[in-house]
Amino acid sequence: MTIFKRFYLSVCIGLFLTNYSLDLVANEALPGGKASVHNYGHNAFSMPSANMSITRRLDFNVGNSFFRNPWVIAPASTRARDGLGPIFNTNSCQSCHIKDGRGHTPEGTEDSAVSLLIRLSIPLSNENQRKTLLRDGIIPEPIYGGQLQDGGIPGVKAEGRITLHWEAVLQIFPNGESISLRKPLFEIKDLQYGQMSKNVMISARVAPPMIGLGLLEAIPEASLLAAEDIDDNNNDGISGKANRVWDVARNETSLGRFGWKAGQPSLMQQNAAAFNGDLGITSAIFPQDHCTEQQVSCLNAHNGGEFEVSQKILSFVEFYTRNLAVPARTNIADESLERGKKLFQQSGCANCHTPHHTTAKLINQPEQSEQKIWPYTDLLLHDMGKGLADNRSEFLANGQEWRTAPLWGLSHQKKVSGHTELLHDGRARNVLEAILWHDGEAKTAKEYVVNMQKGERADLVSFVESL
């Protein structure tokens, strides 16, 4: 082959690749498809879908108001927004989903854990509890229920107080370098309603970011299920299992999509559950406050009417949470990012952090309909090993399984939230630490990263941080 011919060929291939990657790049830069927004500051997670019509933006604003403003104790003059408690974690959605972004771990040992909460349950001990397990996915702690509420209205004691200590865990790389990870040790103090069950299981959860949730909801169920490989029949070491959870409105078991263990089937139910568990607000979906029989002052407290949040207001909040847009990526054309992207594939990260999906055609949700999106998740459950385990099951998710967390928006987290913490309990202080906590099904991928050259690892991290 002459030099000229070779040159000609490489130009052709080059042109082909350029065209191909330009197309790909253009898509990737808009992780939320046409709903993506170009806002890169402190408010990057608070914008409505860019493809939303103006009249619908009015509804977005109304939803925002109920998401942001504090709920008050009943009875109050603001009847639509009363009914807080009797026990609760916080008084508004926004106080945990700060700036519609991720919560954080408490700074000091004694700081209140506002944007982090603790779920509670006990193991199944008799067959009568099967029905509870079917509906709730867990058996609640007999006195304290399924979640520790560390706040109470006047006259009703908070259930207890969360304290947090960190334990250092050393990770050594083959080149001799090491980094110190931190593992949280949660303790519940000042229990106000007696001793907890001896075999209580606790699971700490940081409030997740709110962007792109409507798009995740719009991924066709069939395409999520197609990626399932429960028995690892393809022998790649990765199973992938969809959670099947109770859908209250449909009165049947359905695919789980939301929450750290995919314990909720829809945004409507996720929101209603958060109103109920975190704020103590009842609704048609969850009509009971979280008071157990032992919590008499809680049971006797004044409540804010039959359903403290009306279906109408829940619909506004649903609309709002469906339409918090994913910000565009600002930097994608960098060479190191290209290298990082390849390493992301090669290491196997992309086997669970599925880069790309196409949403279903939805008549009443034009913003989410038929969008090419880049969330980097399969929404399936994976065994993440002992290190990350909470040892508390939730529907089909066992104590070591977690839902693959979406990675979109990570490039904006620092500006929105002022920190770079990751994972369900916020233990990872940055992307590399989060990767190093991966184990179980992700062990091969993690080891691939550990054994990389230092420069390669930096490229991989830069890529994830650019999403």
Binding site: P48, A50, I313
Partner: protein, 440 residues
């Protein structure tokens, strides 16, 4: 004798004020003559740049009026402090209401101009937990749970503790008051601005959705044995300090838009198309997100008096009216000053008319239609027979009130749709929510 003295005092102050206002207006005319000449030559073509200049001129006039009326308010507050009586209290309330007229017309500048949006919190933040400032009726007081400053009562306390910190509040200066905004991280701690003054003049509105505003007695400002609710000297001092602060803040913003003001210069160095985008973005954002959404539809859906904007004075109908008026001003390139003078010049309306006369008349009509609905709300609220204030309109089961509010909301939505069409017609691109400084 005393009465005569007061009258003389009043007259003298009024005369001084009039002189100040006239002087300012005169200076303005002289200063802006070269500018006007430039405008006249461009006027026939209505250049995009001349429209942005007119936008800045209106901003300057509006903020200057806001400053003048705030100065008048401070005079009235000084009067109230020196001669507390129901008469001087009423005069201060009237001055406050007058001060809201230009200020609300300035709100349209908030959106699209980060300099205004970042600044306005200190002047107009709301809602506020009023127990931060003064005594409240514990039985009906609702504050944000977890707000450590909600019962600080600055008027009564020379030091306050927030969490583990103890703050010296012995001297109620404007500087101290600034530092108390968002105390302890809570946005409900609003120590300064129009609503703090409003609360100090009217007191809490304890009538819920029934007729009536707050009813603070003038004796709250009287010295010695006539003083009601204690700490009258500190209350008067607080009121004086916040009005001083208001003047400082308005003075800063007025200078920014003045003929040689730094922000005006910056605005005019940008591509005029960017200026036009800011104008339309501001009109749309205030119409839809802020006024129709936050201030009206949320209030209506929540049936909540806590969502009423000017809740102590029951002046919300006028606040909304002048917000809407501000939007119309920008499109028509005109503004009626508090002394009745008209500021007018090259406008978006003229520009649109040149290319799309149908669209111009549709938007002009829509803006006027909106004003018609807000006028109806004002008439209902100010009715001498059966006044229906905004907090009554949004009450559960008030069909007539709901209709009044809904019609105004729908008119705002309609005008916003046309504002977007105008932006498209002027090839300014979409007014995407993500391309400017505040959510649209």
């Amino acid at each position: 004798m005393l009465l005569a003295k007061k009258i003389i005092y009043n007259v003298v102050w009024l005369a001084i004020l009039i002189i100040i206002i006239l002087n300012f207006s005169a200076c303005q005319q002289v200063d802006s003559q070269p500018l006007n000449k430039a405008l006249i030559s461009e006027f026939k073509e209505v250049s995009e740049r001349s429209i942005v200049i007119q936008y800045a001129d209106i901003a300057h006039a509006v903020f200057e009026d806001a400053l003048f009326t705030a100065q008048t308010l401070k005079v009235a507050i000084t009067q109230l402090r020196s001669y507390p009586s129901e008469t001087t209290l009423l005069a201060a309330k009237k001055a406050w209401k007058l001060a809201r007229v230009p200020y609300m017309q300035s709100e349209v500048f908030r959106f699209g101009n980060a300099i205004v949006d970042d600044w306005e919190g200190q002047l107009n933040a709301w809602p506020l937990d009023e127990g931060l400032i003064d005594y409240i009726d514990q039985g009906s007081y609702e504050y944000v749970l977890g707000n450590n400053g909600a019962n600080a009562n600055l008027v009564a306390n020379k030091k306050i503790s927030v969490g583990t910190t103890v703050l010296d509040t012995s001297s109620l200066t404007p500087e101290l008051i600034i530092s108390l905004n968002e105390l302890g991280g809570s946005e409900s701690n609003v120590a300064s601005g129009y609503h703090a003054i409003e609360f100090l003049l009217w007191g809490q509105d304890l009538n819920a959705s029934n007729s009536g505003a707050g009813s603070r007695p003038a004796s709250d400002f009287m010295m010695g044995k006539h003083c009601s609710n204690g700490h009258c000297g500190r209350r008067a001092q607080y009121l004086w300090a916040v009005s001083e602060l208001l003047i400082n803040d308005l003075s800063y913003m007025q200078k920014q838009w003045a003929p040689d003001g730094p922000y005006r210069k910056l605005l005019l160095t940008e591509n005029p198309k960017q200026g036009l985008r800011k104008m339309l973005f501001g009109m749309g954002s205030l119409s839809l997100g802020e006024l129709a959404g936050e201030r009206m539809k949320v209030a209506l859906e929540a049936n909540s008096v806590e969502d009423e904007h000017d809740c102590f004075s029951d002046n919300t109908h006028y606040s909304h009216f002048y917000d809407a008026k501000g939007i119309q001003n920008i499109y028509l390139g005109e503004y009626t000053r508090i002394d009745g003078q008209k500021v007018f010049g090259p406008s978006l309306s003229q520009l649109v008319r040149r290319y799309h006369s149908g669209l111009d008349s549709r938007l002009s009509n829509a803006l006027e239609e909106t004003m018609k609905h807000f006028r109806r709300m004002v008439v209902a609220a100010e009715s001498s027979q059966n006044p229906m204030a905004f907090d009554m309109m949004i009450a559960e089961g008030n069909t007539k009130g709901r209709m009044l509010v809904n019609q105004a909301i729908n008119a705002l939505v309609q005008q916003t749709t046309l504002i977007e069409q105008v932006a498209e017609a002027l090839t300014l691109g979409e007014l995407n929510p993500d391309n400017a400084d505040h959510s649209f």
